[in-house]
Structures are given as C-alpha cells and as structure tokens.
Symmetry: C2
Subunit: 452 residues, 2 copies
Amino acid sequence: MNTKVTPKILSGFMELLPAEQLAFNKMRDTIRDVYESFGFVPVDTPVLELSHILLAKAGGDTEKQIYRFQKGDNDMCLRFDLTVPLARFVAQHQNDLTFPFRRYHIAKAYRGERPQKGRFREFYQADVDIIGSEKLSVAYDAEIIGIIDTALSKLGLSNFKIHINNRKLLHGFYEFLGLQEQSPDILRIVDKMDKIGAENVTACLKDLALNDTQIQSILDFAAITGTAEAVLQALKNTQIENEAFQTGLNELETVVTAIQALGVPETHFMVDLKITRGLDYYTGTVFETLVDGQSWGSVCSGGRYENLAGHYTDRKLPGVGMSIGLTRLFDVLRDAGFIHIGAKTTADILLLPMGDDALTHTLKTAATLRAAGIKTETAAADGKFKNKMMYANKIGVPFVGVIGSDEAAANTVAVKDMDTGTQETIPVSQVVDYVSDKLNTKPQTPIITMNQ
Amino acid sequence: MNTKVTPKILSGFMELLPAEQLAFNKMRDTIRDVYESFGFVPVDTPVLELSHILLAKAGGDTEKQIYRFQKGDNDMCLRFDLTVPLARFVAQHQNDLTFPFRRYHIAKAYRGERPQKGRFREFYQADVDIIGSEKLSVAYDAEIIGIIDTALSKLGLSNFKIHINNRKLLHGFYEFLGLQEQSPDILRIVDKMDKIGAENVTACLKDLALNDTQIQSILDFAAITGTAEAVLQALKNTQIENEAFQTGLNELETVVTAIQALGVPETHFMVDLKITRGLDYYTGTVFETLVDGQSWGSVCSGGRYENLAGHYTDRKLPGVGMSIGLTRLFDVLRDAGFIHIGAKTTADILLLPMGDDALTHTLKTAATLRAAGIKTETAAADGKFKNKMMYANKIGVPFVGVIGSDEAAANTVAVKDMDTGTQETIPVSQVVDYVSDKLNTKPQTPIITMNQ
C-alpha cells in the first residue's frame, strides 16, 4: 500500500541476533561480576557530554572521529571513551566520593572511524579504575592486573599473557644513558619491537641520532627475558644508579610479588621490557594482554597515571586502570569460532498447552516454576503440536513441558529433555525439583572455548 | 598552572553517585531478571540510527525533540524510543528470527525536551514485546500484564493497580452508538476522564456534536466499575450487538481469566473502561499502571498493536508489549523517599592489611574469598588503622577483616560485623563459611519500600 523504507543500520555498527546477543551479554555480565567481586562500584555517565568539557584535552585524530553536533544552545559530543567522562565525573563530584574511588563502567563509546574489519563506530568498553586523592599505593596496580587475570580466565580465554613493564624504569634507564630528552621518542620506537623487529628499531633509533653504544644498550635491555624473578634479578644486576630506575624497579617488584599473592599464575604474566603503551598518559606500571598464536593485538591494556583530571581540578588524582574492548574482543573471538553460541532463548523450559482447556493450568504451572527460579516460557499460541515442537527446537530451549487435557486433569506435566529426547510425566509439585536437578547436571559450556 | 574547565553535565541528564547508582542498577537488574524469567531474549540495537529510517513514521512533536545530525554522508539520529528500533530490527532480520519473537530491551533513549522536573533528555526504557508473524494469540496480552505485576512486585512497589481496557470494545460501542467516525476523538476525550472530570468530558463531547443521549451512554459506559467479573458481567448485560464490541469483550474476558491463572491478585488489576491510551498505534488490549495515592501518572503502560513494522515490510507483524520508564520511575521514587539507598560499595568484606608484612597474606585471603563468591575489597593503601576504618565506615561495607602481622602469622582474620560491632578472629579456612552465613542472615532490604 505505502512505500516501504528498507530497514538497515549505519555501517560500522554491530548488531547481534538473539543467540549471539545472549553470548555477548554473558561475556559482559561475567566481566561485571568479576569487577564487583573486587568491590568496584558502577558509574553510568551520560553518553552525551558538552564539547568544551569532553574535548578539553583531546586533539588530532581523536577529535576528527568524534560525533559532535549542536542542539539548541548546546555544543555536544558522544563520548569517545570512558576515561574522559571518568575524569569529569571524579572532578565534578570529588566532594561526594570516597577515595580511593573504585569505579567500573561498562558502556558504549563512539568513534566515527573509517569502517574496517574489526573496527566499530559504536563499541562497548569495560573499564575499571582506582583513583586516589593525592597518592595511591602501587599495590593497587597489582590488583588491576589481578582483575584482568580473573576476568579473562572466567571468560574461558586461555593462552593469554599479561605483559608488564614500568615507565619509570625505562625513563630512568634512558636518563642513565644520557637520553632523557629523547626518552618519549625512544619509548614509542621500542614499543614496536615485536612488530617491526630489532633491525628496524635500530634504524629508527639511529634517526634519533643515538650512537651505537646507546642503541646496543637499549636493544640489550629490551632483550632481557625469562621468568619474572629472572628479569627482576637481571635488572638488579645492571646496578644502574638512577633514582627513577630504582623506583621503577621497586614498583615492578612490588607488583610481581602482589600478583603472585593474588594467585595470578606464572603462565599468565611476564615482565616485558619492550612494552611501553603508546599514550603519554601513563607514568608507572603499564601492561597489555596478548593471546598466544593470535594476531589480535592487546585485548586488555592499562596502567598507572599520575593525574586523572588535571584539566578540571587542581586536586591531584593519581590512578590505575584498565579497559577491555568488549565489542572488538567479541568480534575476533566470534570470527575465530571460539564463542559458544547457544540457545535463542533465556528460558529453561517451554510449556506447551494443547487445547484451550489446558491454558489455565499451563499459566498456573508457569507461575509456580518462575516463583521457584525456573525461567519459563509458555507457548500460548493456538496451533498444532508439531508446530509448537518445531518452535521449541528452533529456539533451542533445554526442556519442553507438554500440558494437554490429561495433564491438566491430573495436575501433571509431560517433561521432555530436548538434548536426550527422554520424556517423563511429573506431578506439578515435583516439576521444580525435577527441572532444577536436570539443569544442574547439564554440562556447562564456557562462553569461550579455544583450540589449544 | 593551566586554566581549568569547570566539569558539569548537560542539563536534563541524570547522573547518579555510587550508592544511588547501585540502587538504580538493582532496579534495572530486577526487571531484567523478571523479563528473562518469562523467557525473553535481549536485543541491543545501535543508539544511532539513519534518520530516514528512524523517522519513517515520526512527526510533529517527536521530530522536534530528536537529536539529529550529519556526519560524513550520513544523516543520523539518536533513538527517541525502543519501539521504532524494534520495528526496524524485526523487519530487517525477519528471516533470521523465530516467531513469536519475544524480545526485551533495557537501554537509553533520547529526547531533547524542554528540561523540567521529572523529564530527562536521556532516559532508560525497559521494554518487552512479543511479535507474531501474521497472527498472535490474545493470551500473550495477558502474559505482558503478568510481567508487569511480577516486575513491580519484585521491585517492592506496593499499591499499584494495572488498569486494563480493550480498544475493540470501545470502538464497537461507539459504532453501536453510530459514532464510528468520531471514535478516535471520543477515545482521546474519554481518556482524560480521571484528569478533567465528567463535566469537562461532557463539554468536549458536545463540541464533537454528540447528542445528549449519546453523551449519557458514553458517560454511563465509562462509569461501569467493580470487580473484573462484575464489569465483564455488566458489559455482557448491555447486550450490544456489534461485532467489534463482542470481539473486544471476548478478548477482555480471555485476558482477565489468563492473568488470574498467572496469579495476578485482584488488588493489582482492574478493568477500567475509561483508559484508552493516547496513541493511535494500539488496536486491542490496552493497559496502564497507577500507584495509589501518587500523582505519578502511569508508571508502566502498553498494549496490543496490529502491525509493528508496516513502514519497513509487507509482512504483517502484530504484537503486544509494554514499557517501564525506568529513569523517571527511579526519579519519582527517590524524590518520595521510597528507594533504599544502601552501601557505596559492592563488596561484602573489606580486608585491611596492617603493616607491609600483612599485604601478601591479605591478597591471598582476598583471592580465596573471591573464588568462593564473596565480594572482597582490599585496602592496600598505606595508612593508619583509624583512616582505614573511617574509609570502611564511609563506603558502608558490611564486614571488615583486619589482618595484622599476628593474623598473617596465625593464618587468621579478625572479622568485624560493621552493623553489630562484634569482632571475632577466624582461621582463613573458615572465613568463607563465617561470612557467607552472616551475609545470609542479614535482613534483606527491598529496593523500594513504600509507606502504606
């Protein structure tokens, strides 16, 4: 009758169908539960912020990517990360917050990047940060690394390794070599070691006018590897007399001892003197997380910063935090076939009334099951048994409870286990226990299963 | 040193501090759990949609309020509700969905309304809808009403009443009076009965050129009250011979029977022949939810519609759904003092290491507690015991576990119940059971507590 508009979404945006959405939400909830298990509190700032506040610091590439517009008298932006809103939030509400302030924020951010595989214009970030007032113990750096280990392990991600370094250690070392001025440039170059190789790093360092001895020292330093203990011992053995270096080394040692106490296994972390993180932002501990055998880059990164909100307040707010790029992580895992895509329903059981006289009994039974914590869908639709079972198969519900006039009269349900095909007629009073027991004994599939 | 930008948010946006945010999230999670207990699946569409698609139907006031802008070649909008995105989603993915499609969506929407008390420009909606392909049994209308009752009851909201009516019944009645053409206008006027009173309704109906007999019939009809059974009986007694009226009456009776089977108590619903819902959208069952003694208006409304996505597809997609305006509901409840604002932490216990030699033992103990499901924060900060206890008091954590060098040596924790002030020294191996037992026996405060 009328002209139809072809439904579609903006390019570069992720939209999931129910089974995938359920898997995504399970990932998100798992991360949230881990954050809360460490006592973090949620923050939920507006997606829109005033431009002059959000962009107080930003510039260059970031600013170009921003969704910015006017409405009425307001010049506003969609947030491009969750860190700037955190800085604004903490500065704004500092007198109402208790420090150290431990916040998590799992929400969408927006960047109008050129669409390309694996890059999304709307993406979930799952951030945790601990913000101190004036000072913050380095033990909190270890806690953040402990959260990464717990979160990724709970997700079922295996073969990941958290690479840990310390910026003070690096700056001190470069200062010791007489290269304090070139230090930021050297950091950026060394960070590319694993990508471009030692030869290209050498060439880049030569461009900075470093001499061969300095370059060799830098390469030797970056090449120190082994267990965390071995690397720490090697660093002590260098006997570099520089204050920043010694502070960095002490911090690194404190962090390693603390994450071991938190139970982070040796297989899940290493001291890696090559990683530096790109941002100028970080001032101490830095870390990124790589998955063996995958070219995904870091799936979870972060570090220590000296001052969160210098643009908004004079109060010094040091912090440490990390971020999981959830949308991107889900995307690479899904592409690799590592995500378990399960049912298209949240229901544990689907009740099928057969015939009108069974509907009342079905609805009553459904209410009983729900009150006992069993997620229950009812197929109230008129229709043939075959069609209803086809629907049950399509949504992948684990149990079906058939209720015909016989069952309604006898106050029973014919419960069918959709995995095994077995069917038993159970009195309504026993359905709760029967389904609960069966659900508890069904094997739990982790969200992520990686080929070892 | 540098000029500070004063941190603030856009006016008309809600931002909560931790204790309130935790209460809000608890409300949101409770609603989500109820939706999932009925077997609904989550959908999470992009916040940004292409303007020509999102606005295929919109117009007038809605369009003026929309956040709309250009970026690159794209003309886009922030969604103003979750229903149009649902229509777009179902039309776009219809071949990949299983019908009836049962989706919930709890997310933010945006309207640039003139800021005023209780109106927010960014607001959470918590929607559920069931969408059929070509047809959808009226029993699903009852299910949606059952969800409202379950959700609001779980939140702790008392004294609410779901007012139920049927549009076909009303149209049939007006048709019977020979007023089919004026029917939409009459609906709008009658809907205001409780607000403007019978006298003003009479005046408005006179403006439509209705005669006195017609007006009296309409007023008499709207005045039919009593128990659901009594109203249904009164409607039958009218013996109005009109097809739409009889269909509507049958639907209303089916809905009432089904919600009774679902366990919705008589105190929580009524057939109310005065409510019609404003939108032309609805075609059958309509409902809204009022809270006794409160001038909040409807806190949860919805109904049956004939065709969800006529602008996007030829496929007929009838549905029934409802929406809770979560941000607004939270706001009125908070203003009324009905929201329980609790701790500023998610942690069950805060471990306080006293002295450097206690840190390792504290972190190990924390890991043990977390693995057993106890949310555990560690106060790793250096500092005096007094300051750490002050922090514990401020965040309102229920238990504190003090670990000094004695406790570390003896592998114990001195656990203090912050409510009662009692303290006991417990071996680490027993802390999990000790804290779990105590947590389980602490009285649970509902999120919402209303003065009766």
